[in-house]
């Protein structure tokens, strides 16, 4: 290997896969270039976490982010949202450094999901597996495939149309 090639080479983009493994469970898998302890840190330290958890494409602004990543510790994320800010919060139920993390999602009251994340290091890379488990099939369906989504899809469509509209207006 020639000197400097390491920092200049563009790594092949790692793939994210999603699988609905049961009526009430969804599993997301992704390999991250980096050791497990760093990925774990990025999950558990608020100042790092807030830099990636809400990518720009989600179109939301994170106002505050507090993580107390200990078993029994709480987390709280507050988003800018109309008419008032929206909070997501819950409790860490498993914190095993560099290998496993689990938290509850309590903002919806009873029947919230539990998120479990495992980190497995393989030759300098880390396989991250996120499992979201809902208490029932209905809860999972409501989380994703309800009419609210139909509406967001529609608004996405409208966004696309607005782009076309602007483009043709500019001509």
């Amino acid at each position: 290997m020639t000197a400097g090639s390491e920092s200049e080479s563009v790594p092949v983009k790692n793939r994210t896969t999603v699988e609905r493994t049961s009526d009430r469970e969804v599993v997301v898998t992704r390999t991250i270039n980096g050791p497990a302890r760093m990925v774990f840190e990025a999950f558990t330290r608020a100042e790092l976490f807030r830099r990636w958890w809400v990518p720009k494409s989600m179109g939301m602004t994170l106002l505050s982010c507090e993580l107390d990543a200990r078993v029994g510790g709480q987390y709280r994320l507050v988003f800018d949202f109309a008419p008032e800010p929206m909070a997501f919060f819950g409790t860490y139920v498993d914190v095993t450094p560099h290998s496993r993390l689990a938290w509850t999602n309590d903002e919806g009251g009873e029947g919230g999901s539990v998120t479990t994340v495992t980190f497995e290091e393989e030759s300098g890379k880390t396989v991250v597996v996120v499992t979201e488990t809902y208490p029932s099939k209905e809860a999972l369906d409501a989380a994703g495939t309800g009419a609210a989504d139909a509406m967001f899809e529609t608004f996405d469509q409208l966004d696309e149309l607005l782009v076309v509209l602007r483009e043709s207006a500019a001509k």
């Binding site: 983009k13 790692n14 994210t16 896969t17 999603v18 609905r20 969804v26 997301v28 992704r30 991250i32 270039n33 980096g34 050791p35 760093m38 990925v39 840190e41 990025a42 790092l48 830099r51 990636w52 958890w53 809400v54 990518p55 720009k56 494409s57 989600m58 991250v128 996120v130 994703g144 495939t145 309800g146 009419a147 989504d149 139909a150 509406m151 899809e153 529609t154 469509q157 409208l158 149309l161 607005l162 076309v164 509209l165 043709s168 207006a169």
Partner: protein
């Protein structure tokens, strides 16, 4: 063309601007229904419900077909791939997240390497 698109936007916004129509979409998300069933559910006259369904149908959010004497309503064609679409939007959200995570981790790695170098000096 512009006129056509503007009309489509207006139609969709109009379709979604009404609480009953949003309720109808939610209802059809659970199961197909006849106009009569929908009218009952929302305590409306058949004529009133026909109007609402008509608006949703124009916006492509609902399709209807006549079976015998009954008009059945279901979510529009975009909803057929609902499960796939849901998984894909879920995947895209996580993919974007993980891309950001990757850049945070690579920054940490670079930082650690340069800290190590400094320490060794």
């Amino acid at each position: 063309m512009v006129q056509y698109i503007t009309t489509r936007i207006d139609t969709s916004f109009a379709a979604l601007s009404d609480a009953t129509r949003r309720g109808v979409l939610e209802q059809l998300g659970r199961a197909d229904a006849s106009i009569t069933e929908l009218a009952d559910k929302f305590h409306m006259t058949l004529t009133g419900m026909k109007k609402h369904v008509g608006v949703l149908e124009q916006a492509g959010l609902v399709t209807t077909k006549k079976i015998g004497r009954v008009r059945r309503c279901e979510l529009g064609p975009r909803r057929l791939d609902e499960a796939t679409a849901w998984l894909e939007s879920y995947r895209e959200r996580w993919d974007a997240r993980f891309d950001e995570l990757e850049s945070v981790v690579s920054e940490l790695t670079r930082k650690e390497k340069s800290d190590d170098r400094r320490k060794r000096k």
